[in-house]
Amino acid sequence: MPRPTVRVEPVKRLSVPHPGAAAPSTWRGLAMGRTGSDLAIAILLGLGALATLAFGESYWLLGSQVAITMIFALSVDLLVGFAGIVTLGHAVFFGVGAYSVGIASVRLGWTEPLLGLLLAAAVAALLGAATGVLVLRTRGLGQLMLTMAFASMVYEIANRAKPLTGGADGLQGMVVSPILGLFDFDIFGLTAFLYTLAVLAAVVVFAVLMTRSPYGRSLVGIRENRVRMQAIGTGVQKRLLSVYTLSAALAGIAGALLAQTSQFVGLNVLHFSLSGEILIIVALGGAGRLWGALLGAVVFTLFKDRLSALDPAYWYFWLGLLLAVIVLFAPKGLIGLVDRLLAAGRPKETA
């Protein structure tokens, strides 16, 4: 029987390039080879937080912002880095979370902070599920456009709904009760810092466990080879919708924390530039690596704080330079650099 040299094969991998594709995907890597970098970053960040607590009184407010950005970055990394869903509209969930607690406090007098987090998570999750159904019908560029479309619609709604949101003036006069009825938010921002750190710790533990669970692995499986996942019986659409919803809830919690700790909500929490920044942070840290996203959030926020203090207008130049350097010289992000540093410091492994 002569065998043809060329054959048309209908079953093609439908994979679309995405930022997470650069990250190696074996969980042998996830579970072993890379824990070195993860651990190093965890220790570094832990020490940084402790030092800030002990000596950095003037940095407590900034510290809260960093922790909030870290939670937000984690939520985006779960989508982009793990499940391979692209988004340029994730600020919508961050912003909706912020407005949920803001409006609950200012308009309804609900000031309990932990319930506020739950409320924000629930509202953001609802919006995530509703828009996710549509967003996940498309892939790649179409998906990106849809996330932007929904985000920009919600932005404009918030802008117009002045009686509810305060419009462009923002939502003023937000009150937050003491946490657990015990810890009042102080003017130095110590309570706020500890509060955001505690929530961050809970989110990190959850995210780390989740990405090592069968559920987390199935997400990477979908990213890597959707047709194969379907063929082993995975309801791909439902699985993706679930992580989209979950990610929205986490972003909502981050937004709520910002509202609670700053006791103010402005339209910027819904703005497109925030969606862009958080995607940059994930790429900067290394998509598909939770500790990369966390490190990226810290570096980016500190960098932004320092540079925009020097010259607010010029900050975007430095941001661009930083990005160019990272993309060109460390395509796997900051955590990729840490990988290389550790590998260089270690005696040669036997494979």
């Binding site: 209908p10 047709v227 082993i232 019986g233 791909v236």
Partner: protein, 251 residues
């Protein structure tokens, strides 16, 4: 006669003007081992895609275990025991061989929604994966990434994943293609030792293999069933000889 586990009724598929499935009425009973043959481009893979739901039919229906599954998505059919392998390897190349099988086992055991790891369960699933790998002679490769394997071994991983899903119907799309002829023995051995109530439909160009194993052969040409019968009947069928088998066959 036992009831068919898998059936198609007047299954049609057009890709534009091209009819790749024409009025296919097919049935497969539990425990049967049957082959689907035909020239390149006959529509064999498309038929499997229609059965599994990867490609929706233009008209007609697919009946699995007495129920019309034409409208059901791929995963729902897999859950009901309809499992396939791919003509071109569709694997997680960056994962190890064992991890590929474990992913399938997790889904099969309904663990895909489990958001927390469980080390003890992991160990059990690992053992289960290595049981399957053992049957395919893949044990030494278990810890290697799929892309490090020669193509022929990768073909076996396709089968390992399918077996992990405990199929009732197994659709094999050229499982031996790309395996050096000296090594097809493993595939044959595995096929001989499949569960006795499993229904198998194999697409295969290796006529020795087909005529040796198949209890019945369906010949597909240009999307239409040209003939259907035992190996002897097919070997004697003048039309089949003319259209497909040519002279080179000695069954």
């Amino acid at each position: 006669m036992t009831a068919a586990i898998l059936e198609t009724r007047a299954l049609h598929k057009n890709f534009g003007a091209l009819a790749v499935a024409q009025n296919i009425n097919f049935s497969l009973e539990p425990g049967r081992f049957e082959a689907l043959i035909g020239p390149n481009g006959a529509g064999k893979s498309t038929f499997i895609n229609l059965l599994t739901g990867l490609v929706p039919p233009t008209s007609g229906s697919v009946i699995l275990d007495g129920q019309d599954v034409t409208a059901l998505p791929i995963e729902a059919r897999v859950k009901r025991g309809l499992v396939r392998t791919f003509q071109i390897n569709t694997l997680f190349n960056n994962l190890t061989v064992a991890e590929n099988v474990i992913l399938a086992l997790d889904e099969h055991h309904g663990q895909g929604w489990r958001p927390l790891p469980s080390p003890s369960r992991r160990r059990r699933i690992r053992d289960e994966a290595y049981d399957i790998l053992g049957r395919l002679g893949l044990t030494p490769w278990g810890n290697r990434e799929v892309r490090e394997l020669p193509y022929g071994r990768q073909r076996l991983v396709e089968i390992a994943i399918a077996l992990a899903l405990r199929p009732k119907v197994l659709l094999l799309d050229e499982p031996a293609a790309g395996i050096p002829s000296t090594e097809t023995g493993t595939v044959i051995e595995v096929l001989e030792n499949l569960a006795s109530d499993l229904a198998v439909l194999i697409i295969e160009h290796d006529m020795d293999l087909v005529f040796r194993f198949a209890q019945r052969i369906t010949v597909l040409v240009q999307g239409a069933v040209l003939a259907r019968g035992t190996p002897d009947e097919i070997a004697d069928n003048e039309t089949v000889k003319a259209v497909y088998l040519g002279e080179g066959i000695h069954a």
